[in-house]
Amino acid sequence: MSWISTIIFLPVVFLVIILLLPSRFREWYRYITLGTAILQAGIACIIYLRFDQAGSDGFQFLEKVPWIHLSLGNLGRLEIDYFLGVDGLSAPLLILSAVVMVAAAISSWEIKENMKGYFALFLLMDAAIMGVFCALDFFLFYVFYELMLLPLYFLIGMWGGPRREYAALKFFLYTLFGSVFMLLVIVGLYFSVTDPVSGAYTFNMLHMMDAANFVPGAVFSPEVVQTILGVPARLLGFAVIFIAFAIKVPVVPLHTWLPDAHVEAPTPISIILAGLLLKIGGYGILRICFGIFPDSALYFSWFIGMLGVISILYGALNALAMKDLKKLIAYSSVSHMGFVLLGFASFTTEGTSGALLQMVSHGILSTMLFFLVGVLYNRVHDRFIPNFRGLASHMPHYTAFVMVAFFASLGLPGFSAFIAEAFTLIGTFNSQSVNGLLPRWMAIAGSLGILLSAAYFLWTLQRMFFGTTRFRGGEAWSKQLIDLRPHEWAVLLPMALLTLMLGIFPSLFFDLSNSALANMVQELFETGKRHLDSLQYTNNLRF
C-alpha cells in the first residue's frame, strides 16, 4: 500500500464523487469533505507511526513511476518521474497538513452558498498541498505548487469578503511572479544535473542535491563560476527560487499580499493560508534553496538572517498598530515566520530544528487564532478590536481558548512556540561562535520580537476581553454572541492539546526530525563551504 499516493489522491477521488452527486445531496458535501480530511489524518498517523525515526537522512515511503518521457534528439531525453517520498523535514509538515485540513473542513460549515464548487475546490487544493510536501521530482513539485494556487484563487475570489477580487488577484499574481521565474531555474537545473545511473538529464531533486551529479561546466555547476546576464549563475538561481518562496513565507518586503488575502478570505481559507501555505514557503527554502544551492545559501546567510529579523520586528510593530483582529493575526504570522528564516540562516542544528518546530507550532496556533476570529465574525460580522469590550464575562469558554492561543503564540513556556523560538534563538546566538554566519545581535533582535508579540497579544486581550462588557452593536450583539458550539470545541480543544503536548513533550516532534536535520545541516554547511571556497566570488555580502 503506497500511503503517500493515497493521502494525495484520496481528496481527488472524493472530489469526483462530490462532482457527480446531484445538488439535492448538498448537505453531504461537507460531511464527505470532513470524512476525507479525517481519513487523511488517519493515514498521516500511520505515516507517523511507521516512520523510521532512526533512519538518518534517508527518504522513506518512496514511490517512483515514469511520467513524461520524451526524446529531444540532440538535447538528449526528457525524463520526468512521478517521484514521492518523505523525510524528517517533510513528514512533520505532511502530518501538520492533515491535522489543519480537518480543522479547515470543520470550519467550512460556515459556507452556505455554491457548496459544490467550494468543496470541490477545497479538496483539489488539499490534494495539491499534500503533493507539494511529498514531491521529490522538481517538475512534479512545480506542478503541485501551481495547482494549489488556482483553487485558492477561486476560494478567496468567490467566497471572500467585499474586496475579494482584488485580494485574490493580488495573491495569485504575487505567487505566480515568483514561481514562473522558478520554472526557468528548474529548466536550468535540469540541463545541469544528470542521473548518475542512466546518465540522462533529470528533474530528480535528490540528484540535484548531490553536487557530484552536476555536469562539469553546466550553468549551475558548483565547481566553476558561470554567469547569466553578468551575475554568477548559482547566486542568481538561488535568489530567484528564494524570492519565489519568500513571497509565500512571506518575508518583508514581499508580504503585502498576505494581509489583503487574509482579511478577504473566508475563515477556513485563512486557516489554510496561514497554517499550510506559509509553511510551503519555509519548506521550499530549506528543501530546495538550501538543499540544491548550499553554497549560495551560505553566501547569503547574513542577508537571509537580516530579512528574518526585519520580518519579525516589522510584523510585530504592524500587528501592534492594527485595529482589525484578523489583520493583527495576519501580521503576527509575518512576525512568527521571521523566526523560521532566522533559524534556517543560522546553519545550526538547534536553529534549523527550532525553525521547523516553529513552522509546525505556528501551523497549529494560527489555525486556532484564525478559527477564533472566525467564531466572532460569524456571530456579529464584525472583528474590529475597539467594537468589543469585556468579552471574558460574556463568553468565558471562548475567552479561555483565546488566552491559550495568545499565550502560546507569545511564547509562554509549556507551549510549542516557546520551545521553537527558544531553539531558534539559541541557534542564532551560537551561530557566531560555531560557524560565524550570523552576528549575536540578530538573536537579541529576535527576542525583542517576542517581547513585542507579548505586547500586542496582551494589549488585545486587555482591550477586547477585560473590563465591563460593552459592544458596539449593543443588546443585539449580546444576544448573538453566544459561547462556543460543539463543532467549535471539536476544533479548538484538540489544537490546544496539540500545542500543549508539543510544548511539554517536544521529543514527539524532535524524534521525527532531529536525526535527519542534524545530518542535513552538517552536510549542507560542509558542501556549501567547500563550493563557496572553490567558487571564490569576488565581493562578499557579509557586512
Partner: protein
C-alpha cells in the same frame, strides 16, 4: 498525399451539393470526408514520400501537421451547425471555402519547393479573403475583408520577391537544393530571406506586421476568426518553421537575431495591448498575436525538437482557441455583444461553459496540468537549451502579463453577478466539441508525452 486529394475533391463536391440544394447533406459529407482525409494522412506515417518531382514531401512533419489542421477544421465544423444558416443563404460556400483553405494549409505544411509554399499560401489566403467578408451586408465584415486582403496581398508581394531573390542566389526552388547551395553569404540570398520573413510574418501576424489582426478578427464572423486563429496560424507557423528548418537552417546565425527581435516585439505588442481590451474577441485577437511570439521562440531554436515544440504548442493553442472562440460566439449571440461584462455571472447560469472557458483560458495562459502549460514549458526549454536566456526571461514576463488579462474573463464569470442573465442554450454539436476539447486539454496536460513524442 491522398488526404490532400480528398480535401480538394471534398471541397468541390460540397460546392456541387450546395448547387443542388442538398443543404442537410453538407455537414455529414464534410465531416466524413475530413475523417477519411485524416485517416489517409495517418497512413502516410513514416513513408517519407516525395511527390511531383520533389515538389512536395510527405514526411512525418507534414503528416502530423496535416492531421492537426484537418482535425481542428473538424472541430470547427462541429460548431458550425445552424451557424452559417443564420448569416447567409449560401451555406455550401462556407464549407467549400474552408475546405479550400484547409487544402492550402495542407500544401503549406508539406511543401518541398518554394513554388508549392507560394501556391499553398495563396490558396489559403484567397479563400480567407472571401470568408472574412462573407457577411456581405455587415460593414465590419466588409472592412475586415478589405483590410485582410490589402495586408495579405501586400505580404504576398514580399514573399514572392523574396522567393525570386533566393532563386537568383541559389538557382533552385527546391528546399534541399537551397540548403546545399552554400550561397548563404550572398547579399541576394540574405535579402531574399529577410523579404520572405516579412511576408510570412504578415501571414502569421508577427509584430510589427500584426496590425491587421484585431480588426480582421473582430470584423469576421466568429467561426471564421476561430479558423484564422487556429488552422491558419498553425499552417503559417508550420510553413515558417519548415522553410527555415529545411532550407535556411545553415544560415541561422544570420537570421536568428532578426527573429529574436521580432519575437520580443510580438510578445510585448500582443500582451500589453491585450491588457487594455474590454472586448473578448479583440482580447483573443491580441493574445493570438502574443502566441505568435512564443512560437517564434521555438523557431529560433532550429533543430530536431523545434518542430516537436511547435507541434505541441499549436495543438494546445488550437484546442484552447476553439473552446474560447466557441464560447465567445455563444455568449455574444445570447447577450448581444462580446464585451467582458457579458460574461458576468456565466458561472451561475452555465457552469459547464464557465468551466470550459476557464480551462481554455488557463491553457492559453499556461497554468500547469493544462496542455498549454506543457506547450510553453517545452518552448522555453528548447529556447533555453540554445542559450536564449534573456529572451526566455522576457517571454516569462509576458506570460505573467498574459495571466493578468486572461483572468479578467474568469473574474467576470465567477466573481461578478448579472441579475438578469439567463442560461444559454447549447446545441449538441457545441456540447460534443467542447467536451472533446476539455478532455483533450486535460489529457495532454497530464500526459504531454502523448503529443510530444509524435515528432
Amino acid at each position: 498525399m491522398t488526404s490532400l486529394i480528398i480535401v480538394s475533391v471534398l471541397a468541390v463536391a460540397v460546392l456541387y451539393l450546395g448547387l443542388f440544394k442538398y443543404k442537410t447533406a453538407l455537414l455529414p459529407v464534410s465531416v466524413t470526408g475530413l475523417l477519411a482525409a485524416a485517416a489517409m494522412a495517418a497512413m502516410d506515417w513514416d513513408l517519407e514520400k516525395m511527390y511531383f518531382s520533389e515538389m512536395m514531401l510527405f514526411d512525418n512533419y507534414a503528416v502530423a501537421f496535416s492531421i492537426l489542421l484537418i482535425l481542428t477544421t473538424l472541430l470547427i465544423f462541429g460548431l458550425s451547425r445552424n451557424y452559417f444558416e443564420k448569416i447567409s443563404n449560401n451555406v455550401a460556400e462556407y464549407y467549400a471555402l474552408m475546405l479550400f483553405a484547409l487544402a492550402g494549409g495542407v500544401v503549406m505544411v508539406s511543401f518541398h519547393n518554394l513554388a508549392m509554399l507560394f501556391i499553398g499560401i495563396e490558396i489559403l489566403s484567397i479563400s480567407l479573403y472571401v470568408l472574412a467578408g462573407i457577411r456581405r451586408k455587415d460593414p465590419a465584415s466588409n472592412e475586415a475583408s478589405l483590410k485582410y486582403f490589402l495586408m495579405g496581398a501586400f505580404a504576398t508581394g514580399f514573399l514572392l520577391f523574396g522567393t525570386a531573390l533566393i532563386y537568383g542566389a541559389t538557382g533552385s526552388f527546391n528546399l534541399a537544393a537551397i540548403a546545399s547551395s552554400g550561397a548563404f553569404e550572398s547579399a541576394l540570398f540574405r535579402a531574399g530571406v529577410l523579404l520572405m520573413m516579412v511576408g510570412l510574418s504578415f501571414k502569421v501576424s508577427v509584430a510589427p506586421f500584426h496590425t491587421w489582426t484585431p480588426d480582421v478578427y473582430e470584423g469576421s464572423p466568429g467561426l471564421i476568426a476561430m479558423f484564422m486563429a487556429t488552422v491558419v496560424k498553425t499552417a503559417g507557423f508550420a510553413a515558417f518553421l519548415r522553410l527555415f528548418l529545411m532550407a535556411f537552417a545553415e544560415a541561422s546565425a544570420f537570421w536568428a537575431i532578426t527573429v529574436a527581435i521580432l519575437c520580443i516585439l510580438t510578445l510585448f505588442a500582443g500582451n500589453i495591448t491585450a491588457v487594455f481590451q474590454d472586448r473578448f474577441k479583440r482580447l483573443l485577437a491580441w493574445s493570438s498575436v502574443s502566441h505568435a511570439g512564443y512560437l517564434l521562440l521555438a523557431i529560433l531554436a532550429v533543430g530536431f525538437s523545434a518542430s516537436s515544440a511547435v507541434l505541441v504548442y499549436t495543438i494546445a493553442y488550437s484546442l484552447a482557441s476553439v473552446a474560447a472562440f466557441g464560447i465567445m460566439i455563444l455568449v455574444s449571440r445570447a447577450r448581444g455583444n462580446d464585451h467582458l461584462d457579458s460574461f458576468n455571472g456565466l458561472a451561475r447560469t452555465n457552469p459547464f461553459l464557465a468551466f470550459t472557458l476557464t480551462l481554455a483560458v488557463c491553457s492559453l495562459a499556461g497554468i500547469p496540468l493544462t496542455a498549454g502549460f506543457f506547450g510553453k514549458f517545452y518552448v522555453f526549454k528548447v529556447a533555453l537549451a540554445q542559450g536564449y536566456t534573456w529572451l526566455v526571461v522576457l517571454a516569462v514576463i509576458n506570460a505573467m502579463i498574459g495571466i493578468y488579462y486572461y483572468f479578467k474573463v474568469i473574474i467576470a464569470m465567477y466573481m461578478k453577478e448579472n441579475a438578469n442573465a439567463v442560461a444559454i442554450q447549447l446545441n449538441p454539436g457545441f456540447r460534443l466539441v467542447l467536451s472533446i476539447v476539455v478532455f483533450l486539454i486535460f489529457l495532454f496536460g497530464i500526459f504531454p508525452g502523448l503529443i510530444a513524442n509524435i515528432l
